[in-house]
């Protein structure tokens, strides 16, 4: 089942990329997807059941909307800091503890952090995420944990766990 899921994902991506239904294109896509599935099927999608649960897709959509909004804010925030003559920056690296357990959820959390206002993930070690923050507004762990990852963590739990 794991292999079939991976095959479907690769094949659909190929169809979107080529965007034709010509017979040669289909055959090539089929063969390439098959080879990729046989080579990498072992490593990925150990949690394939997630992909057949419609509720998770709903939460993924909610997450996507919030993420895009945050991303827009992030851009105006950074653009303001860059263009302002005084350059209001106060950078630092802070440690944040996350409650997520699965690897894919942590990956998405780290990527979301990188795209949101003034923060970049430096490293993820076990449960701790080290974040470079362009304007450290508070040094109290409970305050900045909520500020940096609070919004995403709950939704990602619903999507991936």
């Amino acid at each position: 089942m794991k292999y079939i899921t991976l095959f479907l994902m690769t094949f659909i991506l190929w169809l979107l990329f080529t965007f034709t239904l010509g017979i040669y294109s289909l055959i090539i896509g089929f063969v390439v997807s098959l080879v990729i599935t046989l080579l990498f099927g072992n490593r990925y999608l150990s949690d394939w059941k997630l992909y057949y649960n419609p509720v998770r897709y709903f939460w993924a959509l909610v997450y996507l909307v919030i993420f895009i909004w945050e991303c827009l804010i992030a851009n105006f925030d950074v653009a303001y800091r860059v263009l302002s003559p005084k350059m209001p920056i106060k950078p630092g690296i802070v440690k944040v503890k996350s409650n997520l357990s699965s690897d894919i959820a942590k990956t998405f959390l780290a990527n979301s952090i990188t795209m949101t206002p003034g923060t970049i993930t430096v490293d993820v070690i076990d449960d701790n995420i080290y974040i470079h923050w362009i304007y450290v507004s508070s040094q109290d762990p409970s305050v900045y944990t909520k500020k940096l990852i609070g919004r995403f963590e709950k939704l990602l739990k619903k999507v991936f766990e």
């Binding site: 991506l13 979107l16 990329f17 080529t18 965007f19 034709t20 991303c71 827009l72 992030a74 851009n75 950074v78 653009a79 800091r81 860059v82 263009l83 350059m87 920056i89 106060k90 950078p91 630092g92 690296i93 802070v94 440690k95 780290a110 990527n111 990188t114 795209m115 003034g118 970049i120 993930t121 430096v122 490293d123 070690i125 080290y130 470079h132 362009i134 450290v136 040094q139």
Partner: protein, 107 residues
């Protein structure tokens, strides 16, 4: 070409420009990466979205649409690897830095 895609392209180019200005103005690599990943990613995504709106569901338009998530993953993972590599290499943070909790792991 319709108006919305023209506006999106102008916004995209403006954000790309902001990103480049940030790359020149900010003090150290860590802060420069902030502007390089965020502004440039949104700028480029905005241009790609304009391309999709212009061409619609054709071969070109759909390719532009798929390029957006790929660019997102590439730029976030790239920024993470660069910033971690720079820290491990021993590049110093700027004087304005107020806190550095990554130090404990590095040693």
């Amino acid at each position: 070409m319709n108006n919305i895609s023209v506006i999106l392209i102008i916004v995209g180019i403006a954000f790309d420009l902001f990103g480049c200005i940030g790359l020149l103005r900010l003090p150290d690599l860590y802060n420069r990466l902030q502007s390089a990943t965020k502004c440039v990613t949104l700028g480029t995504c905005s241009i790609l979205l304009a391309l999709f709106l212009h061409y619609g569901f054709t071969s070109v338009g759909v390719k532009a649409l798929i390029a957006i998530p790929l660019l997102f993953f590439a730029s976030t993972v790239g920024a993470h690897i660069l910033i971690r590599g720079a820290y491990k290499y021993g590049l110093k943070l700027t004087d304005k830095t107020v806190v550095d909790e990554y130090k404990e792991v590095d040693q």
